[in-house]
Amino acid sequence: MDPLLRVINLSKSFGTLPALQRISFEVFPGEVVGLAGRSGSGKTVLAMLLAGLYKPDTGDIHFDDKRLQWPLRVRELGIEVIHQKPDLAEHLDITGNIFLGNEIGWPANVKWLKVPNRRWMDKEATRILAQLDVHPRSLHEKVSNLTSEQRQMIAIGRVMTRPARLIIVDEPTSLLTYPYQQNLLSLIRNWHQEGTAVIFCSKDLDHLFAVADRIIVLRQGFRVASHRTDETTREEIAATLIGTTDRNELTPTIWALDSYYRAREQAEKLRHQQSLLKSDLAARDTLNRRLVDQLGQQVYALDKANIALQDAQRRLLTEREEERKHLARELHDQLIQDLLGINYQLEEIEADSNLPPHFSQDLQDISDSIRLFIEDLRRICSDLRPPTIDNLGLGVALQSYTRDWSDRTGIDVNLDLDVNLGRLPETIELSIFRIVQESLNNVRNHANATAVDIHLKHTSPRSLTISIADDGHGLSEEFNLSTLSAKGHYGLLGISERVALLGGRLKFLNRAGGGLIIQVEVPHPRVDMPIQGTPK
């Protein structure tokens, strides 16, 4: 393959100072050649010579097998140069600078007299800047207002306006921070992939080894070595850079080079990561706050649902009590009265002496059955709605109920009421009555007990404690309130629901000598009395 660029015996001196001395090398198409050398080794002078800015004293440059005459028109040949310090036209804006020398306009072939097409150029400039990851405030910003890093990126953008065969990159990383340096290295790799040859001058061995296929070393204007990157090490390159293989001189130099560039790169990387972390934390912080807000909202919604549920349950219970009251009254007023009436009629018939004697006995039996029937009904009524509770209060109702129950079931009941019980609000009296009722039901159905102790006490001026203790076989080990409903035992569950609605506490304990204690503590409602002297 023919070399794209051939430099033969190029020399340049500035007065008595020789900058380049008989440099010769070749660059093949699509190759990335790294030019390594310390400051003053002639890298920049070589780049300037190849850019056509300096005239070589001796030597030839052949591009594409054509000998180039000075003055070189490098851009037309397809050679682009990125200099160490960007030379921008200060009074032009970003688009003007990117397209300087290369404006798109009409008519296209007339070189200088064409009218530039601003809109097209703006569009292209935006595309190029996006590729470079540069985001200025506006395309029409004057370049003198930009940071030197952005100016360097614009100088790089200038190179990307037309396709190039050879791009010479002269240490532009000195003005760029870490992320942009990586951008540039990836750009060079892209150019390499597109088949553009690149000459990359740098002092940083890491960068050279990252992108170059071949490394040429310059020292004091001479070309001292040319190695393929795969076949050499950094020590070897550094050795040729400083001109000695003496370890004592080499190692510190490598360390110095390493340290300097590595340290700088690490610092840049750290800074970059720090700013990334800061933005990440800020994003996380907002996310957290949002999640907490959402959580708060859901808790609030749950609370509301809970309150609504409790209200519904309270309404349900109240309605049930009303229904029961209604039913009891109907039973009492209608059914029992009718039955009593029938009984009287039977007794009248019986009193009539004209009846045969076995009729009289049958009538007596029927009358007795009806009386028993009325008794049962009365009991049902009173179960449904203890009549005394409305008129005489909880204490009296409990006494009569427990006496009745004890008579019926044969289990002893010991009722111990607080002396200062007094009257309580209707709902609470009814709830406590029902709690006792349910507990006694539970004892009768499950406990297998012989005696029950019921206590009702004011444990503090503000709360009431009800305890129902039996001497049966108590609760089993695996007792769990939540499984009760699944098994169909609604009694204890009903107690716990009522207690919850009253805002009280429920405890199930196993008695020392065997048996279950159900302990309920209910807050005693009081009228809010304002403290003397303070506003309400």
Binding site: D87, L88, A89, L92, K111, P116, H135, R137
Partner: protein
Amino acid sequence: MSKDIGVLLQPDKRTWVPQLIRRNWQLLVDRQEFVIFVLLLLVCIFLSFATDTFFTAKNFANLARGFSWIAIIAFGECIVIIIGGIDLSVGAVVALAGLISAYSLHAGLPVPLAIILGLLTGALIGGLNGSVISRLSLPPFIVTLGTMSIVRGLALGLTGGWPIRSLPQEFRMLGQYDVPLGSLAIPLPFLIMLGLAVLMSLLLNRTVLAGYIYTLGNSERALQVSGVNPTYIKILVYSVCGALAAVGGLLLTARLGVAAPTAAQGYELDIIAAAVIGGVSLFGGRGSILGVLLGAAFMQVLRNGIVLLGFPSYWQSVVTGTIILGAILLDSWRRRSNLP
């Protein structure tokens, strides 16, 4: 990753009004063209009241004829100064171009051809200036000073110091004809100047070349690095300047009716003054054709005013010099305050 650039100006509530005034004043003063326009208007108004001959059609026609040729040459000088150079040889080119045309007319060539020859003379001398300055990298001041001497010497040597008379009427029409427009009679040179002003303005605003010219004046290296050869642009600009000087010379010759080898001697200062007063910065990179036009008009009105007010014409130079100094001071103050 994007970077934040620029300085955020926090408006201070206390100084909001004065800051607004200061910023707008900056904008006005930044545009020298505006300042000169206002000054021109003021002087015209003043002279209209102070004398009774200023505000007449005849006076305006004279004024127009008087400054048109200076303005045309100043256009050429303008682009030379913008690219950072200067051309002191324009006065001599005026004379030589007039002479070459006169010789061709006497030799029997048709008027258009004579005009073309005159223009070519100017362009060639300009091209010579440009080549020497750019290829040999010599300072423009010295080079054009030398050219001035050479060309003036040529003019004097060719004619032996005598003017060339008896130019044909068709030629003289260029400088003396008045184009009738309704009730007014507008001098032809003035219209030619306006036409050239528009053309040069288009060149200096709308083309790619305009960008190159201003960039040459501001940052020559940027142009070099971008692949544009500054040498060619310089040669072009100096050639255009020479050609425009030739146009001015032809108009002057046509108006006077004689081609004098001493024509425009000493007018170099007036031409450069017209450009500088119009906002062209002597440091390069700034300027506009409109400004130059206004500057030339302003100078002519001043000269006219001095005469009409009865002052000796020696005071003209004093006034001119003072105004030039003022314009340069303003320009340097503007430059300093615009530096980041």
